[in-house]
């Protein structure tokens, strides 16, 4: 039995399955609590109270309204799934699924941790990594366009049209903005990109003390510490920081547009288009659009974190292969079990780091949503075609020149 379980192919199958199930559960939980965070943060920003009633059922314990997402999910599940008479039934039915699936598919190439028990924490370690991400996220627009068209309603139709034109104005600069990263790192494979950043520093930071370790700090090896702190200043890194920053800004803005978040939520536009593409949907159909938007936010911020903010890595925190805590092993345990426990601990810390970074980006997205008004239709296209496209294109050349001439 064990021989079968640990033969390479079978091992890959069941570990991948386990990772998929756990990640899916985590992400769906995160999706519903992002909705809660959205409501709570928007309330706090607008001097309101926000959801604070639903807590543990049948008791008076409210727990800041943390039960709200569960109650919302129950409500949406129990509602009637109403299908208007004149819709195109097949496309009407399939559209919500098409918006929910791509963001979840993106998650399978994101390295969400270093390794647990020696198993790398990425579901599909494929070499085309980021290309896969772009290919799949672009499919998300089909759900919206089909929903808009199949609903046979003018508001939905306008929403769908806006969505497609928004996508063609942003997809280009989004793709171009990440090219400098691959010029620097030289691979499209996302786990390798994170590994590079864990060793050579996050791409977004202008300073990185190379080789700095807590171990030498604890040992009192001041010359090594000072040496690594000074070695952090490097002309090349500082110059490369400029194109990286431009890339980062363009990419983040493109992700906002890609996920239909507020400065660019033209397809939805509650105030103009009733509800945009999902006007005619009810019950779980609507819920899938709604949750699909939040899942897209999560996978989008996952991509931002992976590309620019070092993925699961964090300064001074080792990856899941480390067997000691900053050079010390656990007391009262045999060396083998101590090593296992410590590497499990670091693996979990890495996963926690990744999700903490994602939550940070999500909170930023929510913050931006409740700050900015919506861009007008032509402003968005202008921004996409006249500004970000050129900026991203020029940025590639800046990065290439720096890489070529600065040693």
């Amino acid at each position: 039995m064990e021989a079968i379980l640990f033969s390479p192919e079978i091992f890959l199958v069941w570990t991948s399955l386990a990772k998929t199930i756990i990640l899916l559960g985590l992400i769906l939980g995160l999706v519903s609590y992002t909705v809660y965070a959205e409501r709570k943060v928007s309330a706090l920003i607008q001097d309101r109270v926000g959801p604070n009633r639903v807590g543990i059922p049948l008791t008076k314990i409210a727990l800041l309204g943390l039960g709200q997402p569960i109650a919302d999910a129950m409500k949406l599940l129990l509602k009637e799934n109403f299908m208007p008479n004149s819709v195109n039934k097949f496309y009407y039915y399939i559209a919500p699924k098409l918006t929910m699936i791509p963001p979840i598919l993106v998650l399978c190439v994101l390295p969400f941790g270093s390794s647990l028990f020696g198993v790398p924490m990425v579901i599909a370690n494929i070499n085309i990594g980021i290309l896969f991400v772009f290919a799949v996220t672009s499919l998300g627009v089909y759900g919206i366009v089909l929903a808009g068209w199949a609903s046979n309603s003018k508001y939905s139709f306008l929403g769908g049209m806006r969505s497609s034109s928004q996508m063609i104005s942003y997809e280009l600069s989004m793709g171009l903005s990440v090219v400098p990263i691959f010029l620097v790192i030289g691979t499209l494979n996302l786990p390798e990109i994170v590994q590079y950043q864990a060793q050579h520093g996050w791409l977004i930071s202008p300073y990185w003390p190379q080789g700095f370790s807590v171990h030498s700090l604890l040992q009192g090896d001041w010359s090594a510490v000072g040496h690594s702190l000074i070695a952090g200043f490097s002309l090349k890194r500082f110059l490369l920081w400029i194109p990286m920053l431009i890339s980062f800004v363009v990419f983040v803005i493109a992700i906002f547009a890609e996920t239909n978040r507020l400065p660019f939520d033209l397809p939805e536009a509650e105030q103009e288009l009733v509800g945009g593409y999902h006007t005619e949907y009810s019950s779980m159909g609507f819920a899938l659009f709604f949750l699909g938007e939040y899942a897209a936010m999560i996978s989008g911020s996952g991509v931002i974190v992976t590309l620019f903010l070092g993925g699961w890595s964090f300064p001074c925190i080792p990856d899941g292969n480390a067997t000691t805590i900053f050079g010390y092993s656990l007391p009262f345990l045999s060396p083998i079990s101590s090593e296992h426990l410590v590497s499990l601990f670091w693996g979990l810390v890495n996963i926690g780091t990744f999700f903490a970074k994602i939550c940070g980006i999500l909170l930023f997205m929510i913050w931006v949503r409740w700050t900015l008004p919506r861009f007008r239709y032509d402003q968005l296209m202008k921004l996409g075609w006249y500004v970000f496209f050129e900026l991203a294109l020029a940025n590639i050349f800046i990065a290439a020149l720096i890489l070529m001439y600065v040693k």
């Binding site: 706090l44 920003i45 607008q46 001097d47 309101r48 109270v49 604070n52 913050w367 409740w370 700050t371």
Partner: protein, 176 residues
């Protein structure tokens, strides 16, 4: 004089969006921070906190009937309130006070006195018009019921809500 509305020319900072974007974020951050630190005044959490202790003296709540300090019902069933009531919420059936009663000289009293609280608009005209000062708007505002019948306040309910009011009209006392 023709008034020309000037169209402002945006400078390069404003056209770049990013500085104004950061300024906007700062504003929302300020609100967020003040709200989290509890410096912002927010809506009252209604069922837990209530206005009751802050209600002003002139607050117009549910109309009620009152008795005087000797336990006599002040209403003499003159029906003025019934006639003035704009939504016609009040229904009064008067009766003669029987001879053996201590307050026989008052002659009339309501047999039934009903206020339909679904109709009542809390205008207070009944209180103003009442010559006997028998009907008063009290401070009860949360009038609820599960049926239309429950929302009709009958005489017993009105006296229960109204209680005793002392020291205003003593018109009938010297004639008893």
């Amino acid at each position: 004089m023709a008034y020309v509305i000037p169209r402002p020319k945006l400078n390069w900072k404003e056209r770049m969006f990013l500085p104004v974007f950061v300024a906007g974020l700062a504003i929302t951050w300020k609100h967020f921070k003040n709200r989290v630190l509890g410096r912002t005044k927010v809506t009252m959490q209604y069922p837990e906190e209530k206005w009751d202790s802050h209600l002003p003296e002139h607050y117009r709540g549910a109309p009620t009937l009152v008795k005087d300090e000797w336990g006599r019902e002040r209403c003499v069933a003159c029906q003025l309130c019934e006639f003035i009531c704009p939504p016609r919420a009040i229904t009064i059936h008067p009766e003669q006070i029987p001879g053996e009663n201590k307050w026989e000289k008052v002659e009339k009293r309501p047999k039934e006195f009903e206020i339909d609280m679904i109709r009542c608009i809390y205008c207070g005209l009944c209180e103003e018009v009442c010559p006997e000062q028998a009907i008063f708007l009290r401070k009860d505002y949360s009038i609820t019921g599960l049926s239309r019948a429950e929302m009709k306040h009958d005489k017993a309910k009105l006296y229960e809500l109204g209680g005793v009011m002392t020291g205003l009209v003593n018109k009938w006392n010297d004639k008893k």
